[in-house]
C-alpha cells in the first residue's frame, strides 16, 4: 500500500478518536454540576459513619432514659438534655474549634446552599454565614432581583465569611478533594477567591 494512504488512514482513525473524546468532554462539562460524583467506597463510608453516629445517639438516649427512670437522677437528666439541646438550637452563644472560609467575589444562592449542605454532610456541628448562625429558626437563603444573597432577612455581600465549628481536618479534607464542592464552585464561579484558616476557637451568637 502507498505510504501516503497509510498516513491518511492513521490520521483519519485519530480524528475519529478525537471526535468521540471531544464529544465526551462536552458531556462532562454538562455535569459541572452542583452534585459531585461519588464512588462505591464513599457510599459505604457514608453508610458506615451514619450508622456509627446513630448508634452513639441511641446509647445517649438509652442512658438518658435510664437516668429519668431512676428517681434521684431524673432532674439531672432533664438538665443535661436542656444543656445539650441549647448547644445546637441557636438559643445561646457558643464556641468551639473549627475554621473559617472566606469567599471573595460573586457567589450565587444555589452555590451557597450547596456549600453549607456539604459542610453539614461532612460533619460540621455549627455554621454561621457573615455572622448569621444557621439554625432551625433561620429563614433560608434567597436571591434578590439584582442577584444579592439574602439570609434571615439580611443582605449578604462579598466577602462571604463562613465560620464552622467541628472537626476541621475531616471537613476541609472533604471539601477540598478533587471533584469536591470547592473545585466545582471554582469552575462554576470564575474569579471567585477562596481562603481559609483553622482556629482553636470560633465563637457564634
Amino acid at each position: 500500500m502507498d505510504p501516503r494512504k497509510i498516513y491518511i488512514l492513521v490520521v483519519a482513525i485519530l480524528l475519529g478518536i478525537f471526535v468521540v473524546a471531544q464529544n465526551k468532554s462536552f458531556n462532562k462539562l454538562d455535569v459541572l454540576s452542583r452534585d459531585g460524583k461519588s464512588n462505591v467506597f464513599q457510599e459505604i463510608q457514608i453508610l458506615k459513619e451514619k450508622n456509627l453516629s446513630l448508634k452513639s445517639e441511641m446509647d445517649d438516649l438509652e442512658a438518658n432514659l435510664k437516668l429519668l427512670t431512676s428517681q434521684g437522677d431524673a432532674l439531672k437528666a432533664i438538665d443535661d438534655e436542656i444543656k445539650r439541646y441549647t448547644k445546637i438550637s441557636g438559643q445561646s452563644p457558643i464556641f468551639g474549634p473549627g475554621f473559617y472560609i472566606k469567599f471573595e467575589g460573586k457567589i450565587t444562592t444555589p452555590w451557597l446552599v450547596d456549600f453549607i449542605n456539604e459542610l453539614w454532610s461532612t460533619g460540621a456541628q455549627a455554621v454561621a454565614v457573615n455572622g448569621i448562625r444557621i439554625t432551625n429558626e433561620t429563614v433560608g437563603f434567597d436571591s434578590l432581583p439584582q442577584g444579592q444573597v439574602l439570609l434571615n432577612g439580611s443582605i449578604l455581600s462579598s466577602p462571604f465569611v463562613i465560620e464552622v465549628i467541628g472537626e476541621s481536618s475531616t471537613i476541609l479534607g472533604n471539601i477540598e478533594v478533587g471533584g469536591g464542592i470547592l473545585q466545582r464552585m471554582k469552575a462554576a464561579l470564575p474569579g471567585m477567591k477562596v481562603s481559609y484558616e483553622r482556629k482553636d476557637i470560633i465563637q457564634m451568637q
Binding site: K5, L47, S92, G140, I165
Partner: protein, 238 residues
C-alpha cells in the same frame, strides 16, 4: 481513482476510530464472574448497612417517645418549668411531631429516565440539588417544618447524592420525592411559582420532562427527626 480511494480510506478510518473509542468507553459488563460477584457483594454490604440504619432510626424514635413519656410522668415533681423549656427546645430542633396546614411538592423523574445505572448527569433525573433548592425555598418562605419522603429536615440535614441515589439525613430515598411543608401555603405557593427562584428545575421540567406537582394540604404531618445530633465540639458561653 486515487482520490476516491483516499476518500474511502478517510471515511473508513474515521468510522473505525469512532467505533473503537465507543467500544473502549462502553460500560457493558464483561463476561467475567468477578464483576458480577463484586456487584453482588457490594449490594449485600449496602443492604446490611441499610437494614441496620432502619433499625437504629426506629429505635431512636422509640427512645425519644419513651423519654417524653417518662418526662410527662415526673411533671408534678417540681420539674414543670424545666420541662416547658425542654419542650420548646425540642420543637425548635425538630424533635416533636408537627401537624398543620401546608403543601406537598412532588418531584419525579422523567417517565423515560431510568435511575438504575444512569449517570447523575442525566437530565431526566431529579437530582439532590433540585430537592435542596425546593427545601431552601420553603425555608425562605418561613415554613414551620419540612420533611422529604418522611425524613424530617433540620438545619443540619444534608441532602446529597451517591451516584444516582439520593440521601436525606444520609438515608436513602427514592422517587417520587415528596417535600412536605407546614406553613403559610400562599407564601410558599407564590415562591414556588416564581421561575426565577428555581431556574434549573423549571428548565428541566420543560426540556427533560421531569415533573413537579404542588398540592395544597389542609393537614400535613411532619414526623420527628430520627437521626443523630452532633454537639461534642460545641461549648456554651457561660
Amino acid at each position: 481513482m486515487n482520490k476516491q480511494i483516499s476518500v474511502v480510506l478517510v471515511a473508513a478510518g474515521i468510522c473505525f476510530g469512532v467505533l473503537m473509542s465507543w467500544q473502549f468507553a462502553s460500560d457493558a459488563p464483561s463476561d467475567s464472574n468477578f464483576l458480577a460477584d463484586e456487584i453482588s457483594a457490594r449490594e449485600n454490604l449496602i443492604k446490611g448497612f441499610l437494614d441496620e440504619q432502619t433499625y437504629l432510626q426506629s429505635r431512636i424514635v422509640f427512645l425519644r417517645k419513651e423519654i417524653e413519656r417518662e418526662q410527662d410522668l415526673i411533671k408534678s415533681q417540681g420539674t414543670e418549668s424545666s420541662l416547658t423549656e425542654l419542650e420548646k427546645l425540642k420543637r425548635i430542633l425538630g424533635l416533636s411531631e408537627i401537624t398543620g396546614k401546608g403543601l406537598e411538592v412532588t418531584l419525579n423523574d422523567s417517565p423515560i429516565a431510568v435511575r438504575q445505572g444512569e449517570d447523575i448527569s442525566s437530565k431526566g433525573l431529579i437530582q439532590a440539588a433540585d430537592i435542596r433548592d425546593v427545601v431552601n425555598l420553603m425555608n425562605a418562605a418561613s415554613a414551620d417544618a419540612i420533611s422529604v419522603n418522611g425524613q424530617r429536615i433540620i438545619a443540619s440535614s444534608p441532602i446529597s447524592s451517591v451516584g444516582t441515589t439520593i440521601l436525606v439525613n444520609n438515608s436513602y430515598i427514592s422517587p417520587p420525592f415528596v417535600v412536605s411543608a407546614i406553613g403559610d401555603p400562599e407564601i410558599m405557593i407564590q415562591r414556588l411559582s416564581n421561575r426565577a427562584a428555581l431556574p434549573e428545575l423549571y428548565k428541566r421540567v420543560q426540556e427533560s420532562k421531569v415533573s413537579m406537582k404542588v398540592s395544597l394540604r389542609e393537614w400535613v404531618r411532619i414526623p420527628i427527626y430520627n437521626g443523630d445530633l452532633k454537639y461534642n465540639y460545641i461549648n456554651l458561653v457561660e
